[in-house]
Symmetry: D2
Subunit: 348 residues, 4 copies
């Protein structure tokens, strides 16, 4: 079986990463790519590293002629654009994996509050499945529309999940997430803050407490915990290209743990191919998961202060975007979930 | 007046930074420098950027012949070495600014617990003054021995100080400090973890909850608060050379603040030349204080979650080490505190 | 004496660097700054590292009200803009140091060929003095208009000068210059090629054989040699912010040298404060001159192949732009040439 | 068919890269790895990015028990060590690909001159085949011992090869090679010059005219040209981890070319899967070939000066080491040369 796929919005970093990963997938054929800015140009001109994919020439966004032959469309468009495009795609007999934020938040009110725009495709919010396989694998299997998670939420939710079982092992009023991201997460559009000369040697915070990925995390954590939770989320921009490391500071409830946190994590993720719990005493690092779909988790308890820190490293463009989308595709089409995604990380 | 100074341990990054800063100080004359590894070599050979200081040739550590003509010795040696050397220096008629950790911790038991070694110069712990001018300026004026603060504690204590007045404005059981440092803080001795190929694109945590700067912060915060406090401290290593950014997550006690936190910070530091409170909505960044003695602070409140985040950026080698040492020297010798330290940061 | 200066175009990297350097100059007062994009904004908002220069508020470019009180204007505008502005400035009783390319090339035809635009201020080309003090110091002393050299030409001409005396020591048909520059030389305007994510790990050539600094180098080298010369110039973009390193490959004419090249260089630059010839066996590096006005030169002969390589490192924003402009100012106003420029390089 | 391979020296960057690439090769089974420093440790402890290869535990170098079941050994040991080990391996019924310099140079005298040591396995120099498939593919097919090329020579020889046919198109006395390499080429052993704090913002030359890869380039270029040639080779160290960009300055002989250089290059490499000649006007960059076996070439002629510049980008650890070794393996065992090597480059 070969899955025929299209990519809407192939001229961004996420789109290019989809092309890179799917080109090595044994059961996928990319039948079309689109781009608003680069319509008419071959992929190897937009991205010289894709020198072997000069066969893929970007069509305009509105050119839907390729849809008939497609079974799946990856939608790597900006939010708001996505909510206009996705419903049109779903009129055809195909599945959609949307990599924007538009179908992640279940409540249109919460969406409007954080994204400052009215949601125009609310009829699809109920059917959309949040595409985090390690949490919602079963629902993804039968989904027509998957909302691929944000990069920060992926790193944070996977770090917290083992603490959210059985009603929760932590104080839900004291979840402090301090995340650090490579700049590729901000996309390829030129902006002063993303210039090399501004960012090198220039680590910095941004959107402290007001980042749009916050409600997405809160929604899933609340869902797992069975109660509404608010999270203090502080993102930062790293002088590096790829990688997210989230430092999750939480407070275990007293008297609960009978096994060590280390053991709880190892047990929880024993059967997850893409999640690796580091040995006690080892720390994750962003370049140990670079260009791969793997997640490295570290757990550090501190008896002295009573806090527990969970550390989580992913590649924001792979497990945080394109790789996870391919993982979702594999699940939606009944393939081995790992197919095309087992390349080891690139280090150094 | 010219102050004649010596530098013990001039072949590390901090020693070189002392030479750089003091060479531009209008009232200082460096009369000798020492180095264990590079005895006999001129500074411009050890550090080519010091091409104009080929006149300074490193003496062996034990060569004390220069002391007679000195009024002050900067001691930039590793801990444990320092506690052996400093008492010998103090037998002469001079002052000492020690940049190691050896005279920062008041309690020899706490020192032993964190540094895994018995303190051999306990008789000096009482007299040593913790050299953070914005907190202990008065004591520094008359000190013979100043313990220059660690880089992390400098960034953290200055960030927290306005919240520690009048018995404190925050929940002292929920102080979570998430710090990120450039690698120059780890010194010049070769080690795998400091290699370019290991660190570039490789942001990572280390010593979570167990870093030796923790008791130093706790000592000063406890002193200011008037009660014993424990801090959750999580340091990380940045893929950059200089700079520390500390993200301090705290929880204001309800019903206390009558002015905004922003105003409290602006008011608290109004007269401090080296501390700048950013405008509301602006964020500090490490490259905005690079190669300077300035501190940039940002304050971000979050009504939604009830947490307050204070962000603090310094250059770890300047305000976090050599620059603060020179600031202390100025105070100890009755000079204008800013002398030789008003160079603006180097950006980009 | 205090020199009252204005800065036209203060919102670029070069303008900010002029503010940084001049703020530490003991005999300069900045009386106005201008900016097209940021008119009305204080410098500390445009550049947070200039937190102490909030007193300088950018005026619109055309606001000439500050000129009456000025003795010197630094013009840090883009080329073409400069040729329109400078003649207006010179109608007042003041001197001008222009940091654009507009007054560097003596021939309007050559200018037009490389810059693809007709020169509109040709009447000033004759009077303009090329501001490379180590070569043209005497002319600079009495100049009203100084054309501050380009960053690449500064690094290349100083590297070649000792080989161009007495009719020249090298084959003038085989001058191959391979230069590498930090990205700050390309300015602060956002562009895809200057993004962190595009440049990190992405060293690359550009404008090989067609860079606009080529005729500037050729003009000076031809002048020194007394014959018209063409240079093969290949620039590259480094994944770093500051610094230029030029590798100059030349072929000594046989039978000429009686002293070693190393000795020739040391002798040639013996009295130049800002030029340091490295010891034989030592190499220059961009971070050994960072944030300073110093130049490091290395000379490597190769008997085996008959080629000679001269290596030259500068900070493109200082000796390659703002620092050299201040050096020129000092000369034009009879001050010690080094004034305000003796800060040692910032390393690491 | 599955090829059973061993890796001698798996704890360096090249060894790790072999493990990474071979783990994704459909017809290879790694049966043993060795390491002098890390004997007894699993690969995922030495290199956390190899978290899925904890099954590979390093044996001591001298443990030859795995050889019996092997058909091929990759030898990723330092030079001198390699010449002692390889002959012992070849006593068994297997093939060897040696990644050190020990079997690249045909003349033991030249080897001794550049490597300052007597060659102890001269009996193998004749049989060893220089493993650059695009040049010596036929000989590699039947080789028992392949000397895998150095990283710089790979980038340079592939850049020059189209100019060396039919007796040569260029002046063989004026070949100036200016190369720039990421620091991973210098290996993982800690050293001051490879520290992040020394190299970031610190581009620098080294071993100008005296680098040990020089005779290797000269040997192949002389072989292709049919006459003995000397090359001026100037390497530099980049502030980045992976990638080599070589800028090759040559002088075409007049009156020879009937087609453009661009066409000559495109024609020459038309059938080479791993070599891509960029379109006229496009430039190669190291991050466009990152983590891949691909080579990007650019050709820039300059009528004005008569020089021609060929630009060549590779990943030093892949096409410059481990990837090329796997390409050689494929050829030696009659597999599709591209097998396991078609992953697209990782960008950004």
């Amino acid at each position: 079986m070969t899955i025929a796929v299209g990519i809407q919005g192939a001229s961004g970093y996420t789109g290019a990463e989809l092309v890179r990963i799917l080109s090595a997938h044994p059961q996928v054929n990319i039948v079309f790519v689109t781009s608003e800015r680069y319509a008419g140009q071959p992929m190897d001109k937009i991205f010289p590293h894709l020198s072997l994919r000069g066969d893929l020439v970007c069509r305009p966004l509105e050119d839907l002629s390729g849809l008939a032959s497609c079974q799946l469309v990856f939608c790597a468009l900006p939010h708001v654009t996505s909510m206009k495009v996705v419903p049109k795609l779903l009129r055809h007999d195909l599945k959609v994996i949307d990599l924007s934020a538009d179908f992640r938040i279940k409540s249109p009110e919460v969406y409007q509050e954080w994204y400052k725009t009215v949601h125009e495709a609310q009829e699809w919010l109920g059917e959309a499945v949040y595409g985090l396989p390690e949490i919602y694998r079963d629902r993804i299997k039968s989904a027509r529309l998957v909302a691929n998670p944000g990069c920060y939420p992926t790193s944070v939710i996977l770090a917290l999940a083992p603490l959210l079982t059985e009603g929760g092992w932590i104080d839900s009023t004291a979840i402090v997430i301090d995340s650090k991201s490579g700049v590729s997460g901000a996309g390829r559009a030129p902006a002063e803050g993303k210039l090399f000369a501004e960012l090198a040697e220039g680590f910095r915070p941004y959107s402290t407490g007001s980042h749009r990925h916050t409600p997405e995390m809160e929604q899933v954590v609340s869902d797992l915990l069975g109660t509404s939770v608010r999270i203090r989320f502080a993102p930062h921009l790293l002088p590096q290209t790829r990688g997210i490391l989230s430092t999750c500071h939480v407070r275990p409830l007293k008297g609960k743990g009978e096994i060590s946190w280390q053991e709880r994590y190892e047990s929880h993720y024993r059967n997850e191919h893409f999640v690796r719990v580091m040995r006690a005493g080892e720390y994750p690092a962003t370049n140990h998961v670079r260009a791969s779909n793997y997640v490295h988790l570290g757990v550090v308890e501190d008896q002295r202060t009573g806090w527990l820190t969970v550390l989580s490293a992913i590649d924001n463009l792979v497990k945080g975007a394109a790789g996870q989308a391919v993982q979702n595709m594999n699940i939606m089409f009944g393939l081995d979930e790992r197919m095309g995604l087992t390349q080891l990380p690139v280090f150094p």
